[in-house]
């Protein structure tokens, strides 16, 4: 039997050019993603709702709690700076997320609920799954309230990895709570954490091997987007998003190969 994979368009709503990229990809280059992952708390989130709805794709909720470009929907003081933007992690490269130490548990719970409510209000239905933008639910302080929400709403959850790698304590907790989940998460561009990602074009054989090595469902993050000045200034993951658009537009056989090798599903299809 073929292994199952989810092809997620990650970070929808993050910036204008990211939205434009998803709008372009879902309208002009269909059958690229099986899921979209929307951020509820960016200034471009409402624009993203229309793109997501127009796409007809399954949409999951990407909860963001540690990105200074996102803002708190619950205006929780321990999570944010004076402008209501999240206190940024100390260093993404070293994966130093110790800023979470100072988050009040109540504030975390309140914020997660507020972001979930945003989704219900704007889509009129539940998301396909709960995920986090930077994998912050690999930290138990974030994971536990997210598990409570997932259980109460009967929703799947992305594997609570750390550095997008195995995070046994967190993963086993999700499984023991009976929450449907994935097994691994592959970032589909090379320029990630000093080259630890996978170039969808040149590393496609490695990606396929990696998926076949691991039991359960693999998720591939396809971070798509055009790259404008705003995005280039916001994040080190900027131009890489346009590489995904280039592959979808000009080298679609690579995406097709994933469809041939695997059973491409949505979070809602997880049994």
């Amino acid at each position: 039997m073929k292994r199952q994979i989810i092809l997620t368009g990650h970070d929808l709503g993050f910036s204008k050019s990211v939205n434009d990229g998803y709008d372009y990809a879902t309208k002009k280059l269909p059958k690229s993603f099986s899921e979209l992952s929307i951020l509820p708390n960016s200034k471009y989130s409402l624009d993203a709702v229309k793109i997501a709805k127009d796409s007809g794709l399954s949409v999951n909720l990407s909860i963001g709690l540690i990105n200074r470009h996102l803002f708190s929907l619950s205006k929780s003081p321990s999570l944010t700076d004076s402008s209501n933007h999240f206190n940024s992690v100390n260093n993404y490269k070293s994966w130093d997320f110790s800023i979470i130490d100072s988050f009040a548990d109540d504030d975390i719970e309140k914020e997660i609920k507020a972001q979930y409510q945003w989704f219900l209000d704007n889509f009129g239905h539940k998301p396909s799954a709960l995920v986090t933008q930077k994998g912050e639910h690999g930290d138990p302080k974030i994971l536990e309230p997210l598990i409570r929400l997932a259980k109460s709403e009967n929703l799947p959850m992305r594997a609570p990895l750390w550095k997008w790698q195995t995070n046994y304590g967190a993963q086993s907790l999700v499984e023991s709570e009976g929450i449907k989940t994935t097994s691994q998460f592959l970032v589909s561009f090379k320029d990630w954490q000093n080259g630890s990602g996978y170039d969808l074009e040149t590393d496609i054989d490695k990606i396929i091997d990696k998926i076949n090595e691991v039991d359960g469902i693999s998720e591939i993050a396809l971070l798509a987007g055009f790259c404008d000045q705003e995005l280039l200034d916001m994040t080190s993951v900027s131009w890489q998003r346009s590489q995904i658009l280039n592959i979808i537009k000009r080298k679609y056989h690579i995406i097709e190969r994933l469809y041939q090798e695997f059973d491409v599903i949505t979070y809602g299809d997880i049994k």
Binding site: S17, D20, Y24, F189, K190, D191, N194, G195, D199, E201, T202, F226, C227, D228, Q229, L232, S236, S238, W239, Q240, R241, S242, Q243, L245, N246, K249, R250
Partner: protein
Amino acid sequence: MKKLIVTADDFGWTKSTNDGIIRAVKEGMVTDIAVMVLADPQDVDHGLKLLRDNKITEIGLHTCLFKWGKTERPHRQDFINFFKSASDAEIEDVVLSEIEVYKKLLGVNPKFISPQFNMHGNLRLLKVLAKYTVDNNIPMRIPRAVLTSDEITDQNYASEIYLKRLKVKMTNHLFAHILGSYSTEIINNFIGDLKTVVDGETTELVFHPGYCDQDALESSSLNFERARDLSILKNPDFKQQIVDLGFTFSHMSDL
């Protein structure tokens, strides 16, 4: 002393390319700009206004020979066919016409010539361009390329020795890493290249900075790489490594 020129190609091609290149000059390492005057007129005009507004003058001609619009442009094979079939007079006519367009739009002679696709690896075109550069005492990009691929090669002895005998001003080295998605590796490759340069030599690095919008994605196979190049050119660690190797930044017009 080792001099380094960092050239941004394709200025004028799209507005997002123009914007990205200006940023790469102001906040990055770009020292010289190669302008495509046969791109779509509204994009060329947009670019020329940016050059004027930012008082940028180290500008040369990115020779395209034919109209180079977003939806219609020649490809490598078209140039190969043209050089096979055209007479020397026809080639000269096309070259000089483009230079006239440049002079009309910018009001000055180009400060250097750096042909698109490095197509001046073709000796018939090279002869025409060489005559112009000698007559006007301006430099030309070293023809370290073949017209059949994107990569810089050293497999064009005839063209190089032809220019050297005419004493056309060129750099000693030309380095480019046009394709690829791993910026750390690209930076390391450039640093490796630059380590081969010895005192007294001049080097040109070629980049294609820009933003990647729908125009860029749809009109060129070189699209995300433009934003990648802009990111690399703004990388302070990369610049510091270059300075640590003993390079000083210069211009083609200083050759």
